[in-house]
């Protein structure tokens, strides 16, 4: 299977975010093999836009998310209908219809290039499916070191993806970018790998030598960023630590354990699903994380380079492992 070339086949069963996906087309970037979770399978079927429009006809929907480009053109819209589910419209990146229980996804996207619909699949569609299937997601990236997952949360724009990229370049394994599915067990928290897609600034990639660069996998597309498909771990791992990253001031990078519950609650994902069950589950998961997983606040100066922050974190992860 070659990234960027879609072919009809008997079916693929792969996973991400703890969701096993069976599709009628190859989905590059999913993790091969069953995810070792009791969750049912979600089917993904590629259709034309008209089929999604027909399925949505007559919907009494609510727009739960509306994001625009600076010129006010639509970047993404998510509409919810209690009976039909969720329609995700991302002009230029596909249109998607997710059933209310997350069991079925209809997907309408341009054949090429693959990364354009992969972006939406891994950033929006599968996290929504996972949430509807009972998982809980954090707005976090994660890497794996010595058989454990390490997650880090940071506000958008503070360099979370760049730090994640440099962690992989420096020896960690890619685990998830921007959305991390977690399950609370009796004694530990389990994290599920996300889609294998890293979105990197070209200038960050340019800081890497050839060996480090190779750890990130091939470039599969270019937009305002470079889109890479890294190798990944094959299944869920225990979550060993959670770091809240922030950029402030000019003091050296420092760590403390001054973490309060609002930090967990403020960094959950798929905020547009606000059913009572989901909100109660979010609270339980956040409390479980706070009780079970070592959590630390990492403050880096505003001018700290991503490789430096990554090195600092990797040192801590290796000491914990």
């Amino acid at each position: 299977m070659t990234a960027g070339r879609l072919e009809r086949s008997a079916g693929w069963a792969e996973h991400a975010f703890g969701v096993q996906v069976e599709s009628d087309v190859p989905v590059p970037g999913l993790v091969g093999g069953a995810p070792r979770t009791p969750r049912p399978v979600t089917s993904l079927t590629r259709v034309g836009v008209r089929e999604i429009e027909r399925a949505w006809e007559g919907a009494s929907s609510t727009r739960v998310r509306d994001e625009r480009h600076p010129d006010r053109s639509l970047l993404m819209a998510i509409d919810e209908d209690p009976e039909r589910g969720y329609r995700i419209d991302t002009p230029g990146h596909g249109q998607w219809l997710v059933s209310p229980d997350g069991a079925r996804v209809l997907a309408a996207f341009e054949y090429e290039p693959v990364w354009r619909w992969q972006l939406v699949l891994f950033a929006q569609v599968l996290p929504l499916v996972a949430t509807l299937r009972g998982a809980e997601l954090l707005h976090a990236s994660a890497v794996a070191v010595d058989g454990s997952a390490y997650a880090f949360v940071a506000p958008s724009g503070t360099g979370k993806s760049s730090v994640s990229m440099h962690l992989v370049a420096q020896g960690a394994e890619f685990f998830a970018d921007d959305a991390l599915a977690v399950e609370i067990g009796s004694a530990r928290v389990t994290a599920h790998p996300g889609g294998r897609l890293v979105n990197a600034h070209a200038h960050e990639l340019a800081k890497l030598d050839e060996h480090a660069r190779a750890r990130l996998g091939p470039v599969i597309g270019t937009s305002t960023k470079l889109h890479l498909e890294p190798p990944s771990v094959r299944g869920p791992l225990p979550l060993a630590a959670l770091y809240f990253l922030e950029r402030r001031g000019h003091d050296p990078i420092a760590v403390n354990d001054d973490v309060d519950p609002t930090m967990f609650l403020a960094n959950t994902f798929v905020l547009h699903v606000r059913t009572p069950d989901r909100m109660a589950r979010q609270l339980s998961v956040c409390a479980g994380l706070a009780r079970t997983v070592p959590t630390r606040r990492v403050r880096a100066p505003t001018d700290a380079e991503a490789p430096e922050v990554a090195r600092f974190l990797l040192d801590r992860m290796e000491r914990l492992a």
């Binding site: 519950p261 967990f264 609650l265 909100m279 109660a280 609270l283 956040c286 409390a287 706070a290 009780r291």
Partner: protein
Amino acid sequence: MIGFVSDPHAAEAPLPSSVQVPQHVVYRHFAAETVVLNLQTGKYHGLNRTAGRMLELLDAESALDETATKLSNEYRRPREQVLGDLEAFCRDLLARKLIEPKPPRA
């Protein structure tokens, strides 16, 4: 011992002898505080450690008298003082609709 800022108007209403946490209210303990979520309003409330323990015991015991006795033993404080704090706390919880009077058994 109280986890909320007291509502000055709440002191005038009579208190029920037993209370319960309604189904639409869930709470979970974090390291240093308890977060209470009203699923009907979507609002979160934070309780300090002591208030979290009060809520937990109220949920288990229902009767304010018994809860006050247990808290008094646990925290080694005079029962009358604990009962006063507990009643003030209950008034705040009632005002925020995080607890409700428990109906007597038929």
